[in-house]
Amino acid sequence: MASQDIVRHDAGSRSSFLNDPKIRGLIYQTVLFVLLVAFVYWIVGNTIENLRRANIASGFGFLNNRAGFDISQSMIEYSSDSRYSRALVVGLLNTLLVAVTGIVTASIMGFLIGVGRLANNWLIRKICMVYVEIFRNIPPLLVIFFWYFGVISVLPAPRDSVQLPLSSFLNNRGFFLPKAVWGEGAWLILVGLVVAIAMVWFVVHRARKRQEATGQQFPVLWTSAGLIVGLPLLAFALAGFPLTFEIPTKSTFNLVGGFQIKPEFLALYLALSFYTAAFIAEIVRAGILGVSKGQSEASFALGLRSRQALRLVIVPQAMRIVIPPLTSQYLNLTKNSSLAIAIGFPDLVAVGGTILNQTGQSIEIVAIWMVIYLGISLLTSLFMNWFNAKMALVER
């Protein structure tokens, strides 16, 4: 700051060192620092005293103890004999699962609705606007309750399940799909996929080289799609169609077998997707509006078709406007997934809460929550910053 350059006429006689901004700054900082240290010291002192008085063991040793409780949904093997640390990992994976699926769905929905708000079609525009205005202005917890209590819990009981095509069932215990059971030789399909991806990479590379050298274009998209679908299919046929389906069947209590999506997950996933999509739609809209009209006019003048103009000119520029706020929406969705606790989906916070209850180790559990969420935030930010830098305008 430049304020130290001001010379006052009467400064000579009365100016004390207190008027020097540097020294003053130092004093402010020292005061804040001392206050902070005193505050932290006070809190830590109180906490230690309280823990000692209440005879609570502290430290992270409890993580190696037997958990003793079961978790309804787990992506890794888990039983009540597992340790607390493993229970937390189960919770973390569930958080990530709902976050990733939610982000993908919310992005697709948000993109469609955002484009819809700018459509020429009046009806589509209004429908998208109503959607955005509704979901932006109600709490996410309400959306979760809406799906869980309003929709899923009023579905029929397992014995009167709603039968959907492809032997799938819908009832108040969730969504039941046939489970694919891969037979012998299924690994060939995976090999086919890997080979296809490698070939696509090669084709893209060559096509670009050729276009740069000769200006001739090559139908990259269709070739890649053909390769990625075709090769695994070929492998599937060669292996003798090693695929059977396990169809859910009724038993005394529930449907058994098949692939089950629990209602808690379903409600949380739908709610987070619907809620966040409204925000993403607004971001996408702002991004598209942010690209000046001259850009599309110029690309038409160059003879690009409207799809080409969109893909090569408009979207890359809109992306630059979209990415930073999109990152924070992704993080918001991840953080909002902690609302799972309200409907009993075993995410990190819910599992941590159970452990907190059983062990009384509140400080340790809250610390674990904070570190993990901060870590997720940091990693996502780093990735998106990298992506942003890659997409950023290269000025020459």
């Binding site: 700051m1 430049a2 304020s3 350059d5 001001i6 700054g25 402010y28 900082q29 020292t30 804040l32 620092f33 902070l36 809190i43 109180n46 906490t47 005293e49 309280n50 823990l51 008085r53 459509a119 020429n120 079609n121 009046w122 009806l123 589509i124 429908i127 205005e133 509704i134 932006r136 202005n137 109600i138 709490p139 996410p140 917890l141 309400l142 309750f145 809406f146 209590f149 309003g150 819990s153 009023v154 953080k335 909002n336 902690s338 609302l339 606790i341 309200a342 916070v349 809460g353 907190l356 509140s362 400080i363 809250v366 929550w369 904070m370 969420y373 901060l374 935030s377 940091l378």
Partner: protein, 384 residues
């Protein structure tokens, strides 16, 4: 000009109306609904969906809805043990009607509810003039609203002084809790957020560091964990026996959380102020606080009004999370009433949630519309 060429008309042709396809309803329909084949298809699909859903939604909401009744039998079908014919489905507004006092006040002592109403009336009386740009005495008004009203409300709502019976905060609930929490969190988070934003842009490393760590930590974690921390850990941080009211703990959690988000919004505004403004203020010999208060903040805050209001809306919506730590705000108390055996029917949850959603929506939508209005009004036109 006169002329004598016979094949040239001597008078102007009357202006003709545009072709039928280029005017009025037809033009509008053509351009807005069926401009391209794709548009036509989309329009047909949309209309089909609307025709499918809208009438049944309206029927459920209004026509088939049960508007009055004293217990669940009015909203349940015969098979569910009620009086409605089988296959009936409709909103159970009787539930909202029977419970609306609880939705407003929670379990606040019934004979003392006039105090809440009084606070609400004072709030409206002070708040509405503040929103109308032409109303006079803004400064006195703001002082009354942000300094006098909170103090008066505190004594009125909590009681225990001046002969008013004390009403424990655990009895508070419903919309009242939502509004008190949001008002206090909003009122606290704005100044706190401004200080944090200034701290983050400060030249003093310790202050900057403190602000950065606080803002980033709080923004990195979900509100639920902050609330858990406030409800489960805060008691351990205090000396033995000093206890904080649970309501106050939630209030602190929400306010600190909101302040971190507010700080980032304000920082955006601060960064958008051209350097010349800072230098101009310095050259006039203004002190740091004069410069900040008179030159920088008025411009910066004006720039970020949409962001600030968005944060307000966020805070308002986030207050619903206190349900998770066992307090009953509007959403919480409605949720709690789903389990009330006198009213538990298949229709109750949906009815309650739609009611809660409507109330939240009215407040949030109102805030966002007002911000758009203010933004236009304050726009001095020097942005692009």
């Amino acid at each position: 000009m006169e002329h004598d060429v016979s094949y040239v008309r001597t008078e102007m042709v009357n202006a003709q109306a545009a072709p039928a396809s280029e005017r009025g309803v037809v033009k509008w329909l053509r351009e807005n609904l069926v401009a391209t084949p794709m548009d036509a298809i989309l329009t047909i699909i949309s209309i089909a969906l609307l025709v499918y859903f809208l009438p049944s939604a309206l029927r459920w909401l209004f026509i088939d809805a049960q508007w009055s009744g004293s217990d669940r039998s009015f909203c349940a079908t015969v098979a569910q043990g009620g009086a409605q014919p089988d296959g009936w489905s409709g909103a159970c507004w009787a539930f909202v009607k029977a419970k609306y006092e609880q939705f407003l006040f929670g379990r606040y002592t019934i004979s003392e509810r006039w105090r809440v109403v009084l606070v609400g009336a004072m709030f409206v009386a002070l708040f509405v003039p503040l929103l109308i740009p032409r109303a006079p005495y803004k400064l006195a008004n703001a002082f009354l609203l942000f300094v006098v009203l909170p103090i008066v409300s505190f004594f009125l709502l909590v009681g225990g002084y001046f002969g008013l019976p004390r009403v424990e905060t655990q009895l508070w609930g419903g919309l009242m809790v939502t509004l008190v929490l949001s008002f206090v969190a909003i009122a606290v988070s704005l100044p706190l957020g401004i200080l944090l934003a200034l701290g983050r842009r400060s030249d003093m490393p310790v202050i900057k560091m403190f602000s950065v760590i606080f803002i980033e930590t709080v923004r990195g974690v979900p509100l639920v964990t902050v609330l858990f921390m406030a409800s489960v850990m805060l008691p351990l941080f205090l000396p033995a026996g000093v206890t904080f009211d649970k309501f106050l703990r939630a209030l602190i959690g929400v306010a600190l959380f909101a302040a971190a988000y507010m700080a980032e919004v304000v920082r955006g505004g601060l960064q958008a102020i051209p350097k010349g403004q800072y230098e101009g203020a310095d050259s006039l010999g203004l002190s740091y606080w004069q410069k900040t208060g008179l030159i920088v903040l008025p411009q910066a805050l004006k720039l970020v009004i949409p962001g600030i209001v968005n944060t307000f809306i966020g805070i308002f919506k986030d207050t619903s999370l206190v349900y998770i730590i066992g307090m009953f705000d509007l959403l919480g108390i409605i949720r709690q009433n789903f389990a009330d055996a006198t009213w538990a029917t298949a229709q109750t949850p949906m009815t309650g949630l739609i009611f809660a959603g409507f109330v939240f929506w009215v407040f949030c939508f109102g805030m966002s519309r007002y911000s758009i209005y203010m933004e236009r009004r304050l726009d001095t036109g020097y942005r692009r």
